[in-house]
């Protein structure tokens, strides 16, 4: 707890501040690209398909890059020694398995339920009548009365 900084370099401060602003511009740039892709997907009215999934994957890659810059430069994890970095990063690799396993589980549940539960399939693929759309009372009532799903 009581470790004292042994040295304070004034020339270090300038490079440090420069690095902070450089990281800021990178984060801002990545965010703008993300938003541009998101806006394009909306404006172009893309239908679900390979291209849309590709763009979404691109957004996820940009998101991970932003996360890297925040953790490495704002939280200074890059400046820590390797032992510390490994105790933080290695456990987080569990997320790779979590994401794959749970999303596959979700889509498997979806296809099983669609094929086995005809009532669910019909209900969830029938369009809402236009007067219900946008009104405040009816849809929320309907969703409240619906029996809760098992999820």
């Amino acid at each position: 707890m009581e470790q004292h900084p042994t040295h304070t370099h004034t020339e270090h401060q300038d490079t440090g501040t420069k690095e902070i602003w450089r990281t800021f511009w990178i984060l801002l740039g990545l965010t703008i690209v993300e938003l541009a892709i998101g806006f394009y997907m909306y404006k172009a009215g893309l239908q679900p398909g390979f291209f849309k999934n590709f763009l979404k994957g691109l957004i996820v890659v940009l998101m991970l890059m932003k996360a890297f810059y925040i953790v490495a430069y704002f939280m200074h994890l890059k400046a820590e020694i390797n032992n510390l970095i490994m105790t933080i990063v290695v456990p987080l690799l569990l997320f790779v398995w979590f994401i794959i396993a749970f999303l596959m589980e979700g889509s498997s549940y979806n296809s099983l339920r669609n094929s086995l539960d005809r009532n669910h399939n019909e209900k969830s693929t029938a369009p809402v009548s236009p007067e219900m759309k946008g009104s405040k009372e009816t849809p929320s009532k309907v969703t409240n009365e619906k029996p809760a799903h098992t999820e």
Partner: protein, 223 residues
């Protein structure tokens, strides 16, 4: 801390800290890691439910209002919120940086900016929540239909309010921590102690809040 160490240093043979850092900061990292798993679990369950649903509302149709401008501006308000949080992250890291050179005045200035940024973000979130609530959205109530025009379930609003609410609570506690840091700095506690390492630990928490927002923002507004 960032002392340079010889490559052949034997960290684990006793006599020194194997992580070359103070206890508080190490424990802060482990806390943040566990918190990352909490948020990860939330977001993955959101993803699981979304994958198991036939339809899902289009975020561009749901989140398209801007205060004073009305509706029809998808992504605009959330861009502002993201910008505010990135900016406050920058001022926080500048405060940490000034703390390294025991520059009390800059630490105070940057902490004040960080706190202002935190309140601005919370204000934005409060506006968005109350706006959605006026549109009839809340836990257990979903006025929006799916992107393909089918009836949506309350899963959408439940996840949205739970996860952004949990994140907002983190922002709020981060602001409280930063205010405590500001008071301690003003009282000269760190000056007497001779170092501003406490600011660094508060900074870690604040950056984590920003980090989580990167994921929440992407998952709810862009994907």
């Amino acid at each position: 801390m960032a002392q340079t160490v010889p490559m052949a240093q034997k960290w684990w043979s006793g006599g020194k800290s194997p992580f070359n850092t103070e206890y508080g900061k190490l424990m802060r990292w482990y806390f943040l890691m566990s918190d990352a798993f909490t948020f990860g679990a939330f977001l993955i369950s959101y993803g699981t439910i979304r994958y198991s649903s036939n339809g899902w509302p289009d975020p561009n149709e749901v989140f398209q209002s801007f205060p004073g401008l009305g509706s029809g501006f998808p992504l605009l308000f959330v861009s502002l919120m993201t910008f505010i949080l990135i900016m406050s992250s920058v001022t926080m890291v500048l405060a940490v940086h000034a703390g390294h050179s025991n520059d009390k005045k800059t630490v105070i200035k940057m902490l004040v900016w960080t706190i202002i940024g935190g309140f601005a973000f919370l204000g934005c979130q409060a506006w968005e929540w109350s706006h959605l609530h006026h549109e009839g959205a809340w836990w257990g109530m979903n006025p929006f239909s799916n992107a393909d025009g089918t009836q949506s379930t309350t899963n959408f609003t439940n996840f949205f309010f739970t996860i952004t609410g949990f994140h907002g609570f983190h922002v709020f506690s981060g602001v409280v921590i930063n205010i405590i840091m500001l008071i301690m700095t003003l009282n000269g506690v760190f000056e007497r102690r001779g170092h501003y390492l406490m600011i660094e630990k508060a900074g870690l928490y604040w950056h984590f809040v920003d980090l989580v927002w990167v994921f929440v923002f992407t998952c709810f507004y862009l994907l």
